[in-house]
Amino acid sequence: MNKKYIVPVIYIVCLMLPIYWLVKMSFMTTNEILGTFALWPKEITFDNYIKIFTDPTWYNGYFNSLTYVGINTVISVSAALPAAYAFSRFRFLGDKHLFFWLLTNRMAPPAVFALPFFQLYSAVNLFDTPMAVALAHCLFNIPLAVWILEGFMSGVPKELDETAYVDGYPFWKFFVRIFIPTIAAGIGVTMFFCFMFSWVELLLAKTLTSVAAKPIAATMTRTASTSGYELGLLAAAGTLTIIPGAFVIYFVRNYIAKGFALGRV
Amino acid sequence: MSKISLKNIRHSYMDNPVDDIDWALKQMSVDWSDGGAYALLGPSGCGKTTLLNIISGLLKPSEGEVWFGDQEVSNFPTDQRNIAQVFQFPVVYDTMTVYDNLAFPLRNRGIPETEIDKKVREIASMLDLEKTLMTRASGLTADGKQKISLGRGLVRSDVNAIMFDEPLTVIDPHLKWELRSKLKELHQQIGTTMIYVTHDQTEALTIADQVVVMQEGQVVQIGTPVELFERPQHTFVGHFIGSPGMNLLPCDFDLGKIVYGGAQIETSNQLNVDNTATRFEIGVRPEFIRFADSGIPVRVEKMSDAGRFSIVETRHGEDIIKLLVPDGGHVPSESAFLQFDPKHTHIYADDWMVD
């Protein structure tokens, strides 16, 4: 390999070190971890993973997380589709202000909303349900979805719409049968990012749940504080949370910048 | 300034070229004499830009040598070759003023400011850029930007050659004319070797003294516009240059006689009896065909008006033969006979003209 690629290589190695450390620990018993400093596990054990897959308090955490993340992704994308279409195709009263207002919600510190959210969702009897977290995450995921989709839709020539009208397609038929398949890639990317941002968030998810809908992230923090330092178990649980991202990242590799930059790249 | 020679150049973008088709540039040797105005003409993908980049050093050829005068420069990087190049899309440094853009190549070479100032103003006046000299380059129109690109090539007095890679592609048609004549004028003033890449024959024929025609990675002919028109060395040149292009008619070669449409055809060049080519064609431009009382029997099929003359399309068997008839000339209505001008009728064996 070329000498000038040494910088990216070193950078990637640095990025991987903490991840390696986590994965390494997940194959060790807590006693071995706490016992000595070791660069790799002496004896590989799968006990931590077995525990997670057999103990309901653990695997329910994953199930709960995936549930609200899934619901959120569906709601965000389906609500954002028509809105993004309107922003990319039409001029209407207050469009620019609305666009910026949506962005401001991406700027709202979740800590600011933690308490009022707790009260709001208690008031509407949704506290401790996946729905509460799914709706709360709409706060930042809908603006994100609208912005990313708008970026993709603006890349589709308006002539497509006009041709469809001339051919006599009613609007909804055009939208569902022609337009949505055209921006399928954009929808996939948007779903990925909604999924991701809902998946990595913890503060709101933790605040809005207590027992029944507890997300995996919260299970991890509570386990850390209650049952002492179950480090091996914690590491295995952490490793498992990295997997969904690592799994699909390859498919969106060329859109990662676009997704993080709210479709503005 | 000096003569530029390419010696046995060959280039492939692949690591291990096997087939003929893997070579973007087939083996060639070309000399560009000092001060000449050359056009490199050919369809997209024929290797024009590759050839240009090899001369400027942006690309190192897989095989062969590049010589400037009596010095080999094959291993010289671009900035040591003293080449100026103008690209298809205007390249300007957005953050700089027009003045700074023009001064940039000189400043990079450490030329004193007083000299730079003189040179920049001289070029700016040649290109009518004086008024915008102190404005930001980013705000200009496409042709304004392209003028800056041209200017950056022209300010350097020491260049061995200026190369243009389809520089007028993004320019409005009416400005194309203006810039083209400007270029021609500048070449006469400066006298630097100029290599102009284009796929537009009008552009090539008006700008250049010598046209290099390329096809599928090889040079098929180098010649003056008149030579290309009157004696195309390859069927591609005949077909590509001229509008409409040359008529190419498959013919029989029988015992030293060229036979087409049942009649023997007289051509400017002769074939050896023992020629082993598999394919023979007669090439004759529409300008050198006329209706006659006898000759090759054809049916008149179509006629279109092209200004001072009409293009008449006729058919002989499978072949379409086009000819030009001056305005007011007589065009028979259905069947007719054609005569080819023997001085401008050539025979091609396997696409190449035989001498």
């Binding site: 009263l93 600011v112 | 900035d79």
Partner: protein
Amino acid sequence: MDNRRSNKKAWFFVLPVVALVAFNAIIPLMTVVNYSVQETFGNNVFFWEGVKWFEQVLNSDRFHDSLGRQLIFTGIILSIEVPLGVAIALTMPRKGVWVSVCLVFMAMPLLIPWNVVGAMWNIFALPDIGLLGYALNSIGFDYDYTQQPLSAWFTTILMDVWHWTSLVVLLAYAGLRSIPDAYYQAAKIDGAGAWAVFRHIQLPKMKRVLTIAILLRFMDSFMIYTEPFVLTGGGPGNSTTFLSIDLVKVALGQFDLGPAAAMSLIYFLIVLLVSWVFYTLMMKNEGQ
């Protein structure tokens, strides 16, 4: 975005989005505003307090301290991540299979749940069993982030750099990729050196994406909560208590709703103000 048709019915298209976001944004915000001007002792009994809480928060040393820490933290990570990200983006291959490999590996940290990031570093930096802590101590540094504020800051910053530099890299790289080859070729022909190429070609073309990168990094680092909370819990002492951590302590820990609400609003306004400036810049760039 322009040359669009005017359409009054377009509002129906955006209605679901507006409804959902308004439910999540406006109602809670009203609650916050409500609390910020009243005093409560539970049982839904409220007393009007006017701007008392705002005055209290704005004059409290505690708020000044956490705001100060927040500004220093954001300043430091921006001044590390942006140049570092640009530098790495510049050295990345421009095409070929290695591009995908780089992108996939570099994006990994961005996709890890934030509490896992915190937990990961919590262990990685331990002086006895963590690689980082162990390595630093064995080359002679007295390093223990659970005890020393300086070590805690170092770890928090390093963690954020680890977590988010890739975002800057990806954005800068996207900007670099949009530069046509002809620019680099022209620069070679003009005899420009590496610095001139960076200064006059690469940097101007990256201006837009870098504005976005700085905006995002400002916003997100200003809101940072989960990672330092899991890593240090705001300690040792209050040394890494940033605005969000402090806010949650006040609101959920001490249940001082009035001051917490006032603090929330001030906090939100600061983020909004700075972001608005960047947003305006960004849109201006986009208009060009």
